[in-house]
């Protein structure tokens, strides 16, 4: 990123310094750039560029500066310098600099950059210079001049360009045609119309340019003249299809969007390209009568065109197409039917629900998916009520589809109906209803839902009911959900529902239900006890930490011990009032109870987050165990890197972005690199060995440090000698450090840039402990 504030201030000072001193400063800056060549420092160029920017404050001084810059073009300065000068002139040149640039238009090497400087200068002298240079220029320079004439859109060179349409050099003729198209106007159009109607290799280019003239006329409010051009090209069957397509679109524009017959004719065309574009026009033609006319074409067309038409009518969104779409949805086949069903989602109303529900219930691949989405999308305000009424349909598949649609539409008014359909004889309808209740239900629906769970006869259905209850609970109704479950516990005398209710309490995870679960652990019923232990082990808070530790030691079955231990380790990772030492001791206890590597690895991973210094020694004990080595080393890395804190000479609030493992964020100086800027990392431990650092500034690739010194020391007030130093030349700098011990790593920027910040998108530090 450019650090422009400082540099512009200096440049402004130069520009505003009146008299000889200022002129001397400008002259000196220009002298210094005369020998600039590719790859050299751009420091002197930056001074000139800043002068150009700062000159905006004074038109007179800007003109003087532009004249001095233009003067460089007649010296023996390098090409690289002159290119730079032309870039600057492109921003500030005016009438007074045209005469210095004009001779370069015919210079094969400088012509492009002369045009670069001139093309945007809005004075007539530039058009005169281009016209004057045209007959003198050759080859590439000539083509460039013609192109610039086109870009400037001035009518002055029209006669000259028209004369080039028949040029023996096809490239010149084609460029002239393109330029005439951009310039437009009656004369250009006349020349292009003749060329477009004459057979030859450039006829299509001329037709394209001719249409462009039509566009310009249309934009200028001359619709009749534009229509004549479009009509000429559309009616000419010798024109390529793409030209006629473009002409057709233009014709419709010129006629104010009327032209239904033209579009229908194009739809019936044997040319697929014409048909495709016509379908696009069906979408967008504003004629209010167009929809009915297009809709009539649906039944008359072949299948591929029907698909295009139906899709386009859907996008039109006009209800006038509904009868034709409905007919196609009822009687069409395959892709035509699918297109019609999809169109109903946009154009249909409540009367479409029966048809869509039958299609959705059909189970027929594309048609089913399309109909489902259309049921969801219907915007008729009556649609929800009609769907709820239709839940009485005899066909269970239709009932299930309507429930699915009501769910997707978020119709909470349907909950009473859904509580009824949750008792439907059909299992698929019951399952859909429970799922819907989870989405749409509220606090008042919890007790009926729990009752449904208790009454359910199969595990799967209990599971669905449980999911619905949890979903409702998580909408802010947790206490009500626990109360509802607790109220039902005494009524659930059978083993399965009792176990399901305890599982549910675990899934809700509110401590108010904990005692019920604890009681379940002591149950003599194996299924109830299993459910209770699993619920406890998966408890989402750390409240039952002691319970699970106890179970890890004493549960009767090994699987319960393992589940409890895993639960305990997970809970240790949650926030608590324990001291770090206490947490570490509990992790060590878990390590002692673990009999398998999996749980030991879990504990090691958790230990890495314990914020006490002893943790390093504890984890290191496991680094030699082949089964645990990888996890232990990962934990050690995490422990070490967690202790990093950073500070910097600039922009201290953002230092964390250099260490956040996100190359998309960055720390930067917010100021141009001058030397002396620094970035320091406290590694958190004394006597660390840093073998290598990587400074990544790819995201702002010019912002790498131009020079650097790296220090490492245990005393941040006495960093000692650098452990690495060098020049930066790439966006990613990998820097190896000399061996030294230390806690503080400091990177000092020692170079200067042409106006760029120093940024660190990511700093990677490779450490070893002594």
């Amino acid at each position: 990123m450019k650090g422009w504030v400082g540099t512009v201030t200096i440049a402004l000072a130069l520009v505003c310094t009146c008299g000889v001193a200022q002129q001397d400063a400008v002259d000196e800056a220009l002298d210094k750039i005369a020998t600039y060549d590719w790859g050299q420092s751009r420091e002197n160029l930056t001074v000139v560029a800043d002068l150009v920017t700062a000159s905006a404050a004074s038109p007179e001084q800007r003109d003087e500066l532009a004249t001095k810059l233009a003067g460089v073009l007649s010296t023996d300065a390098t090409y690289a310098c002159k290119q730079f000068v032309c870039r600057q002139l492109s921003l500030i040149a005016g009438e007074n600099q045209v005469s210095a640039l004009a001779p370069l238009l015919t210079d094969e090497k400088m012509s492009d950059m002369a045009r670069y400087a001139l093309e945007q200068v809005r004075v007539q002298a530039v058009d005169e210079a281009l016209l004057d240079a045209l007959p003198k220029a050759k080859d590439s320079a000539k083509l460039g001049i013609i192109n610039s004439m086109g870009e400037r859109r001035d009518s002055m060179p029209v006669d000259a360009l028209a004369g080039l349409i028949g040029d023996g050099d096809a490239k010149v003729a084609e460029a002239a045609i393109a330029a005439l198209g951009k310039i437009g106007g009656a004369k250009a159009a006349e020349a292009l119309g003749t060329a477009a109607g004459s057979p030859g290799p450039l006829a299509e280019a001329a037709a394209d340019a001719y249409l462009l003239c039509g566009d310009a006329l249309q934009a200028a409010g001359k619709g009749k003249a534009a229509a004549a051009i479009y009509d000429a090209m559309y009616s000419d069957e010798n024109q390529p299809g793409r030209i006629r397509v473009a002409a057709l679109e233009g014709l419709l524009t010129a006629e104010g969007g009327k032209g239904v017959d033209l579009v229908i004719a194009a739809l019936s065309s044997g040319d697929p390209e014409m048909r495709g574009v016509a379908a696009g026009l069906v979408r967008e033609l504003p004629d209010p009568n167009a929809t009915k006319a297009f809709a009539k074409q649906v039944a008359k067309s072949e299948a591929p065109v029907q698909v295009l038409l139906l899709t386009a009518l859907a996008d039109r969104g006009d209800k006038a197409a509904l009868p034709a779409i409905t007919q196609a949805a009822e009687s069409g086949e395959g892709e035509v039917r699918a297109a019609a069903l999809a169109a109903l989602g946009k154009v249909g109303d409540a009367s479409s629900i029966g048809l869509l529900a039958r299609a959705a219930a059909s189970g027929e691949g594309d048609a089913q998916a399309v109909a489902q989405r259309s049921l969801e999308a219907l915007s008729d305000p009556k649609a929800n009520a009609v769907m709820m009424d239709a839940l009485q349909d005899d066909d269970a598949k239709i009932r299930a589809e309507l429930i699915r649609a009501l769910t997707a539409r978020g119709v909470s008014d349907a909950v009473p109906n859904l509580l009824e359909t949750a008792k439907d004889p059909d299992p698929a309808v019951r399952a859909a209803s429970l799922k819907a209740l989870g989405v749409l239900g509220g606090t008042d629906d919890l007790a009926p839902l729990v009752a449904l769970l208790v009454a359910a006869e199969a595990d799967a259905e209990r599971g669905e009911a449980g999911k619905a209850i949890v979903a409702v609970a998580r909408k802010g109704h947790v206490p009500a959900a626990v109360t509802a479950v607790q109220a039902a516990l005494p009524t659930a005398t059978a083993s399965e529902p009792q176990a399901a209710l305890l599982t549910l309490l675990g899934q809700i995870g509110d401590d108010a239900g904990l005692d019920n679960v604890r009681a379940g652990v002591k149950s003599g019923d194996a299924a109830v006890q299993d459910a209770a232990i699993r619920a406890l082990a998966a408890w989402p808070t750390a409240t039952p930490l002691d319970d699970v530790f106890a179970l890890a030691e004493n549960a009767g079955r090994e699987v319960h011990c393992i589940l409890a231990l895993r639960g305990a380790i997970r809970m240790l990772g949650m926030g608590s009032d324990r001291t770090g030492e206490e947490s570490l001791a509990l992790y060590q206890k878990a390590m002692g109870l673990a009999t398998r590597p999996d749980e030991k690895k879990m504990a090691l991973a958790g230990m890495a987050d314990v914020g006490v210094s002893q943790v390093l020694e504890v984890v290191k004990q496991y680094a030699d165990d082949p089964e645990l080595k990888a996890e232990a080393e990962k934990a050690l890395d995490k422990i070490r890197s967690r202790s990093y804190t950073a500070s910097a000479s600039h922009n201290g609030g953002n230092v964390g972005k250099a260490l956040d493992k996100d190359p998309g964020s960055r720390w930067d100086t917010g100021a141009v690199q001058k030397g002396g800027e620094w970035f320091m990392v406290d590694l958190g431990w004394e006597d660390m060995v840093v073998t290598k650092i990587v400074l990544d500034s790819k995201g702002s690739s010019g912002d790498y440090p131009r020079g650097y010194k790296v220090y490492l020391s245990n005393n941040k007030d006495d960093m000692g000698d650098p452990v690495a130093e060098g020049k930066g030349e790439t966006p990613v700098l990998e820097i190896a450090l000399k061996p030294k011990l230390g806690r503080y790593l400091k990177i000092e920027q020692t170079g200067s840039s042409d106006g760029l910040f120093w940024s660190i998108h990511e700093l990677t530090i490779s450490t070893e402990e002594r």
């Binding site: 920017t53 921003l91 400037r152 460029a175 934009a219 397509v245 967008e284 998309g664 702002s700």
Partner: protein, 435 residues
Amino acid sequence: MNSSKSSRRSFMKKTAVATGVALGFPHIVPSSALGADGATAPSNRLTIGHIGVGKQGRGSHVGALRARRDVQILAVCDVETGRLEQSKNMVEGAYAKRAEKPSYKGCDMYGDFRELLARDDIDAVVIATPDHWHGTICVMAAKAGKDIYCEKPLTRTIAEGRALVDAVERYGRVFQTGSQQRSEYQGRFRRAAELVRCGAIGDIKSVDIGIGGPPNTSYALAPEPVPETLDWDFWQGPAPARPYNSELCPLNFDGFPHWRYYDDYAGGSFSDFGAHHFDIAQWALGMDGTGPVEIIPPDGKDHERLTFVYANGMPMYHGGAANCVFHGTEGTILVSRGFLRSEPESILKHRLGPNDDHLDRGRGHREDWLECVRTRQRPIADAEIGHRTSTICQLGNIAYVIKRPLKWDPVAEQFVGDDEANRMVSRPARSPWRV
């Protein structure tokens, strides 16, 4: 001097763009396009040419499209013969494997995209060249009647972008900008846009866009010998001529090359990722067909960050805690490629109603383009959308260079009362190229 916004087709409703209302159609492939075994018959496959087969063109697009049975890649084009041959081999190898034959021939190589565009048997092109080429190639492709998928950022200059949109409209082409965040990343960005649009966080107060900085105008790149396999002059195309340096066009390099950080060819990280994240902001704000009206560069005092201001007064800042952060009167939504978060969390549970904007098309970004080629619908990131997003990137970069607040007229696509800034709306092309 520059082409003002064309009025061609301006009477049209442009329903898809204007409202963003659900366009989600499942695949509707005419059965007439299917072979008896359900595989697409060769005569009905969409035929494709790839222009630019570097990291993105080859690694992403050729790699994905060669595996599709409804697509046939007929040609590849690049200015570097190594990449060209590698791409041809990828395509032909895949087709040979599919046909269970030892070899397959039928993917031609071109060094000049004009020769590829001249082929009448190619329906559509995928353009993944450096940005400074996009405008010229897209306009020529539209004129040649090709449907187009073009990588983002859409063009190098605002004027090129308008010329591109006009050509695509004039020739009725189906055009997709490669802003795939609208279609991919598990729908996170789409969901964020839907939530913003339906008012889940209330009225939008401001937007933060967390991306990198503007391009490097410093070319401290020493001349190096031009590799024998590279047509360096063609690579530069409409950009000012300079000697070769491998920083700009590295060979045997599997990353995203750094031309994107240099001003003649691209708009730096600001445009590279701005083309994605400003695009999401435009989408979410319902601003797809327009853009901000004021751009204020950082001044070290009142404006710490580059600020865009929309006509309704809402500011959008460069820099933020996520790629896109939407601050509303009732909450905040943060979305990046890896996460979607909200404050409060409950906002993410908000359900859309039938009358809210449902933006999900139920398909990937390339798939959306392919489907629209068949149905002639507008893709989810059509030319106008890509151009408007690219324009924001360029407005920001111009403000960073010109260093003073700018007023922008998004209808005329000109700066208001600033001739110097208006000179940056377009750039003269090196001969013989033009847009």
